[in-house]
């Protein structure tokens, strides 16, 4: 997608996979498989994760591959 001009950011559940595969921008989240945005029925937490991912798009000093922890 990046090669076709679409800016991407990926949620990542396994840090070691992101380190090996190297997507352009990844946000590692400390949640179990099946729960990439945290918990069901908790929109505030889901928004917090998405917001952290979107912020990676706005930091123009970052260089690929980007891997940042959600805190």
């Amino acid at each position: 997608m990046e090669r076709q001009g679409i800016t991407t950011v990926a949620i990542q559940l396994l840090r070691e996979v992101a380190q090996r595969v190297r997507p352009p921008r990844a946000l590692w989240v400390p949640f179990a498989h099946g729960y990439p945005l945290g918990r069901p029925g908790e929109p505030l937490l889901q928004h917090a994760v998405i917001e952290a991912a979107l912020r990676l798009l706005e930091v123009h000093t970052l260089r690929p591959p980007v891997l940042v922890d959600f805190e």
Partner: protein, 160 residues
């Protein structure tokens, strides 16, 4: 926390020996515009389909590399989990598909102006693809062309 320890011994051994594809060089499209002017699409590997679509096929050797368009107007409660993997707990995404397909959340972002707009469709495929050659060669570029034709600026990639 997402960890290999969640998986069965057999899967952990498989993953330990698995030859992950390394992206090199890493492609990069900087975001030139403000997010408040950008169109966003979701790309989820959680295997969701909408009523009337074929479920993902767990009989395809190496993994089903097809994808489905998910209309943006879908009611999130209508999303159907067809992911074949038994290596994760499906109860969360079945209770609230926003967990892996956050369509309500991105609509809310557009309503408050954090993003410019939500694309009229999103893309869904099923992860657990152990032979990703066709995914990389065919499916990924086809998905990208589709979103590009829609005028999408930003894709949020969500696993499960």
């Amino acid at each position: 926390m997402g960890s290999m320890d969640e998986f069965s011994l057999a899967l952990r051994l498989f993953l330990k020996a698995y030859r992950w594809r390394r992206i090199d060089p890493v492609p990069w499209t900087a975001l030139d515009a403000s997010l408040s002017q950008c169109r966003l699409a979701l790309v989820s590997s959680a295997g969701f389909v909408v009523p009337g679509q074929l479920p993902f096929d767990d009989a395809v050797r190496g993994g089903d590399v097809s994808f489905r368009d998910i209309p943006s107007a879908i009611d999130v409660r209508d999303l159907i989990d067809t992911h074949r993997s038994q290596s994760f707990d499906h109860s969360g995404v079945r209770q609230d598909p926003n967990l892996a397909f956050p369509i309500d959340r991105v609509r809310e972002l557009a309503q408050r102006g954090r993003i410019g707009s939500v694309n009229h469709r999103h893309l869904s495929f099923m992860g657990s693809i152990t032979a990703p050659g066709r995914l990389v060669r065919d499916t990924g570029p086809a998905m990208a062309r589709q979103l590009r034709a829609d005028g999408v600026d930003v894709a949020l990639l969500v696993p499960v």
